[in-house]
């Protein structure tokens, strides 16, 4: 089932940063990020609704790198 409450937008340049990808996979408490075999960051769709809105990913990425969107009210966590 697709996510009903949360969307995470990952900028392509942030996604291709291997160091950032590793960090994102480490810090997200609910495993929304994974590192693909080529080292890039991917989103684990089935975990999206578990997002606890902690903003750790937003802080770890460069400005504009990650946006966490609350689908139920349109609010966006970004920097």
């Amino acid at each position: 089932m697709t996510a009903m409450f949360i969307r995470v937008d990952l900028d392509p340049s942030a996604a291709s940063d291997r160091e950032l990808a590793k960090k994102l996979a480490e810090i997200c408490p609910v495993n929304i990020f994974a590192q693909a075999p080529d080292g890039s960051a991917t989103i684990v769709e089935e975990n999206l609704d578990e997002c606890v809105l902690c903003e750790l990913c937003v802080e770890a990425a460069p400005p504009g790198g990650i946006r966490v969107v609350k689908l139920y009210d349109g609010a966006v966590l970004e920097r």
């Binding site: 089932m1 609704d49 578990e50 809105l53 139920y72 009210d73």
Partner: protein, 400 residues
């Protein structure tokens, strides 16, 4: 968790509490052997976890080994509340002159353990309390200091017991409290405690309940009794619904969505928070509602866990609506539960506004929860609405 009577007696024996002579038999032949060895009239009792053995025919008396063999054969194949006995106890029939009651449990209101003594044993202590309150004495005690003989004596003497009888009962009472504390029991009860014609005392029947969460601490003693970790030890075997509820809780370590108990009503309950489940369950019944289940959620369950629990409850035939009610939450997030419950309803093929009669989880992240619920048209309320009132609204919407 409950213990079979013979296991209770093994634990009481460790404490030095006097017991009748006897043992357990898994076959009629073993019962014959025991009766022969005892060389006296015997009482045979079905070893099941539920009560009501006497009424169900699970207790029989035998004067000879042959009678004991036949009685054991009958008892061993007699289910009581759908449970076949694990074995039958065979004990020398005691010449009882008088019966007493001794029990220890927790008094939730006083937040202390309470020792209960009565000189009218052999019947339900609740019945004694109601019909003969002058034959019952209670005494709260602290878990911080050892329970002394002096305190036990004070309690027992308050019903006019004196002399050797007082001394003997005092020793049994303090040992029972020691067992209660040492093994993290929630109930330790000897009923009846028989005073024999020769003046000695013997435990005729007993009941022990251990706190489920304490099982790990007492693994050694449970192993010695042959109790495996997957034995739930409740009053009846778990239903398929309850087994699946335990699986929902077990597969995800985040938070609690457990202790699912099946009932046959039409209102599914997603409830919890430090005793809140019991309050809410009672409130639903008070307003004439019929719960489909009891459950306990808390400790910030994941969205997935709340979703799976909701799906399980909605899959139960006859469930028309669910009520999602908790006390004010701090470590559980209202928005996470809201997401899980709504997902569960949608994945079950229903519309949240139709299936969720009320959502009342005030506290941590309630603002986000209310936005989620508002989006799906679900009725919600904050802490200005009591749990009881929320239950009333759920019942009103669902119908009895």
């Amino acid at each position: 968790m409950r213990f079979y009577e013979f296991e209770c007696k093994l634990l009481l024996a460790k404490m030095g509490v006097p017991l009748p002579h006897g043992g357990t038999a898994s076959t009629p032949e073993q019962a014959r052997q025991l009766a022969t060895e005892l060389n006296a009239p015997v009482v045979l009792k079905s070893q099941v976890l539920s009560g009501g053995r006497m009424k169900a025919g699970g207790v029989k008396f035998a004067d000879t080994p042959e009678e004991a063999t036949n009685a054991a054969a009958e008892i061993l194949k007699l289910p009581i509340r759908d449970q076949l006995p694990v074995c039958v106890s065979v004990e020398a029939k005691a010449a009882v002159a008088k019966e007493y009651y001794l029990g220890v449990t927790y008094d939730a209101l006083a937040k202390k353990p309470v020792m209960i003594f009565s000189d009218m044993g052999g019947i339900d202590i609740e019945q004694v309390a109601e019909e003969h309150p002058d034959h019952i004495a209670t005494q709260h005690f602290s878990t911080l200091v050892p329970y002394t003989d002096f305190r036990a004596k004070e309690l027992i003497a308050s019903l006019g017991i004196t002399g050797g009888e007082l001394t003997a009962l005092t020793g049994i009472a303090t040992r029972l409290v020691r067992l209660f504390q040492q093994y993290d029991m929630t109930l330790a009860e000897i009923n009846p405690l028989g005073k024999l014609e020769d003046g000695s005392f013997v435990v005729l029947d007993c009941h022990l309940d251990m706190e489920d969460e304490a099982r790990e601490r007492h693994q050694a003693v449970l192993d010695a009794l042959g109790i495996s970790p997957d034995e739930t030890r409740q009053g009846r075997p778990p239903t398929d619904f309850e087994i699946r509820g335990a699986q929902v809780d077990a597969v995800d370590h985040r938070g609690v969505a457990g202790r699912v108990v099946e009932f046959d009503g039409n209102l599914g309950l997603v409830i919890g928070a430090g005793g809140g489940s019991l309050t809410i369950f009672d409130a639903v019944q008070k307003y004439g509602g019929k719960p489909a289940n009891y459950c306990e959620i808390g400790g910030n369950p994941s969205v997935n866990k709340a979703m799976e629990l909701t799906k399980l409850i909605l899959s139960k035939p006859g469930v028309e609506k669910i009520a999602v009610i908790m006390n004010v939450v701090s470590n559980t997030r209202a928005d996470i539960v809201a997401r899980g419950v709504i997902k569960g309803v949608v994945e079950s093929g229903h519309h949240p506004a139709e299936k969720i009669s009320i959502f009342r989880i005030p506290g941590s992240w309630e603002a986000d929860a209310f936005k989620i619920l508002g989006k799906y048209g679900v009725e919600y309320c904050d802490r200005s609405v009591s749990m009881s009132e929320a239950a009333r609204r759920a019942v009103e919407k669902t119908g009895a």
